[in-house]
């Protein structure tokens, strides 16, 4: 049996680290997905750069596809 809190988290509820400070909470409330930042902070700078490159490649691929579609 899955408890409600776990279910909420499975559905996307982000749980702030218990010691999160005001700036972290402010960024979260502003709408940033702080789980992504938590993940990024666990990586080395080089891994962050590689992850960024993959995200950027995807963004550009989608952008190009959109432009191709618009040109048709």
């Amino acid at each position: 049996m899955i408890d409600e809190e776990t279910l909420a988290q499975m559905n996307g509820k982000y749980v702030c680290p218990p010691d999160a400070g005001p700036a972290w909470r402010a960024a979260m409330e502003y709408g940033f997905d702080m789980s992504l930042v938590e993940d990024a902070l666990r990586l080395t700078p080089e891994q962050r750069l590689e992850q960024h490159q993959r995200a950027l490649d995807l963004v550009l691929e989608v952008k190009e596809a959109g432009e191709r579609h618009a040109a048709k």
Binding site: D19, A20, G21, P22, A23, W24, A26, A27, M28, Y30, F32, D33, M34, L36, V37, D39, A40, L41, L43, P45, E46, R48, L49, H52, Q53, A55, L56, D57, V59, L60
Partner: protein, 165 residues
């Protein structure tokens, strides 16, 4: 056009260009979950360093991306002495080179407020978190102020974890 930051950075390193990574990619290296479409650096604007920059990108069809006719990036001594910024489009993507950073200062000050980061293809200096926050706050566009919120959170988190930034 693809943006290949690693390839550009490697070339700058190979040619011994004196520069500091600033802007969005600097935020990414600090841990920000952002996607940025260009590579921004602050570099020393003197003849020697600009010639190194030119050598680093010369076979990448570099062009001044903000000029009406996308003029090729071909330096003269006069240009070296008068340019304050260089905004380039290359085969590896966009490379914007600034001589100073708003909210921080000129290259010397930017260097002083930078930290080294080791990547597998070399050691690079990036603006420290505090200075990056100052720079983005000074620019003040919506997207920069959004990034500031995230960077402040990261700074706070790293301070809690006694991490250097």
């Amino acid at each position: 056009m693809p943006q290949n930051d690693k390839a550009i950075l490697s070339r700058l390193k190979e040619q011994k260009v004196e520069f500091v990574i600033i802007g969005g990619l600097c935020g990414v290296l600090h841990g920000a979950s952002l996607v940025t479409l260009d590579l921004d650096i602050c570099c020393r604007f003197n003849r020697e360093n600009l010639r190194r920059l030119e050598a680093a990108v010369k076979d990448l069809h570099p062009r001044h991306r903000l000029t009406a006719n996308k003029l090729p990036f071909e330096l003269t001594n006069h240009l070296c002495d008068t340019l304050k910024n260089v905004y380039l489009n290359t085969d590896f993507g966009i490379l914007d080179c600034l001589s100073e950073v708003l909210g921080v200062g000129g290259y010397e000050e930017v260097w002083r407020q930078s930290v080294p980061h080791s990547l597998s293809y070399g050691e690079f200096r990036i603006l420290n978190l505090e200075a990056l926050i100052a720079a983005k706050s000074a620019v003040g566009r919506g997207k920069d102020l959004d990034a500031v919120k995230l960077l402040l959170a990261i700074k706070e988190r790293k301070a809690q974890q006694n991490e250097l930034f």
